[in-house]
Point group: C2
DNA sequence: AATCATCGTTGCATAATTCGAAATGGCATT
DNA sequence: AATGCCATTTCGAATTATGCAACGATGATT
């Protein structure tokens, strides 16, 4: 494996900038990465010169730069599905009064492509973000996407070990996950029963391309206290309907995701 | 200036991946950057390991990776204005039947934060993209944003040279631009008269924060053949109304851009 | 089937680059 | 004024990235 260590270090430095901590000083970063200040300064300067970071002229702190949006715009071009799905998600958000997500599978994670709706002013909601990720095996959308993979594909992704528990409810044994995925294939939707986030349940449904392959998933996200069995059945009907409509549009546009 | 040259090279390599050419092979990139294949291979491998590139397993070609979306999601968090403006832009797109843009100033460029509407099926439209950039001095939105800067701020951005002409109509002399900006401050909107893209005209208006500072701009983009003086007046009224409504919402939400 | 050209990947010695320590100036606090 | 912390720069030593050569795989051509 031929990794350039100074390039790796520079790229990893970007990960320290988060939504919670969008601005950081040289000193803060040096302490966090446990590297000498002058080295970190040079990395920051390089990232800034390339537009990946910018520096607030008043505070002298660094934050992620707009070059990243420029590059991101080039990535979104691959996901026409997002444009197609947006009006349907908006309609579903109005209909249900809940938060709606769209995601694709990347490796063993889902990646959020779109999020619509504000929920019902509840305190408990999900801190998800465009481009953000969660383990596929815990989330309704992830399980939908995994259910469309072959045994060997699943093995290549998860191996034979135990899965990390995100909550007490997370399925952490691969045989149980395989069972769950078989059930999902049968019933055509998936439930996240407080497996990704405590207190949050989701119902997810598959978006298929013209060839029937599951290329994305859409879900309704609800606080557990509002998600009884009656509500599950209701949302299942709505979200699978939305997914089917998106799928038809996807197929009609010869979309490739 | 302390630039790490190997990090710089790696970051610059990302720029070779565009919407037009989303996938590239090792050999293609090596030829383009005029560097040895084995060096480029190691850079690609490092970028791939960090998620900035991914490799199509069938073609072996590289493309931009989803880590970029992850980071972009953290940048968007700075632009609450985008969420606020979206419904108003959608309404304006319906009302005018044209393409609507939202942008902010970054250095001497505008950066597109949002784009709504499809225009009227015309062949001639603008290839703009979320996160994409254009020189501020040529575009209606850019001129709106520049008009809010002080003389010294403008001087720091543009210096004393000539500006690059994008089209025969582009203002390329700084004194003329300063005059134009003074006019814009007076009238409260700006016109791009085929200065950024040939055959394309835009009317732009300022979005202000609670303190009256211009923090973003919104514009209507029209093919020149459909933009007579009557249409200019009509669109000016609509776009400044939209900008005012967004500004009020921005001020109400104590937004910081 | 054999040959050729091109591709992607790896190992190694050398050249290039990066690193850390020390120094310096700026700013805020006492 | 003294102190502490910050950001930035210089320089020699240590480390890393580079380019070359080699290799196997693949596809096209003979």
């Amino acid at each position: 494996m031929q990794i350039l260590s100074s390039v790796k270090k520079a790229l990893e430095l970007l990960d320290h900038f988060t939504v919670e901590r969008p601005e950081l000083s040289l000193a803060e970063i040096s302490r966090e990465v446990d590297a000498h200040k002058s080295s970190v300064f040079r990395v920051l300067t390089t990232l800034k010169a390339a537009g990946f970071l910018e520096k607030d002229s008043l505070s002298g702190k660094y934050r992620l730069g707009l070059k990243i949006l420029d590059l991101a715009g080039r990535v979104w071009g691959r996901y026409d599905i997002r444009q197609i799905a947006t009006p349907y998600m908006e309609e579903l958000a109005r209909e249900t009064g809940e938060v709606i997500h769209l995601a694709v599978l990347d490796g063993s994670d889902i990646v959020y492509l779109e999020k619509k709706g504000q929920g019902q002013g509840q305190v408990l909601t999900v801190a998800t973000r465009l481009g953000g990720r969660n383990p596929a095996y815990a989330s309704s959308m992830g399980k939908i996407l995994l259910a469309d993979l072959s045994k060997s594909e699943l093995k290549a992704i998860f191996g034979r070990g135990k899965l990390e528990k995100l909550t007490p409810n997370t399925i952490d044994e691969i045989p149980k996950l395989i069972e769950e995925l078989a059930r999902i294939r049968e019933q055509g939707f998936a439930l996240d029963n407080e497996e990704t986030f405590p207190g949050i349940r989701c119902v997810g449904a598959p978006i298929r391309d013209a060839g029937g392959k599951v290329v994305a998933a859409v879900s309704v996200t609800v606080p557990a206290q509002r998600m009884d069995d009656k509500r599950v059945r209701e949302l299942w009907r709505l979200v699978t309907n939305t997914a089917r409509m998106i799928s038809e549009r996807v197929a009609a546009s010869k979309m490739e995701a």
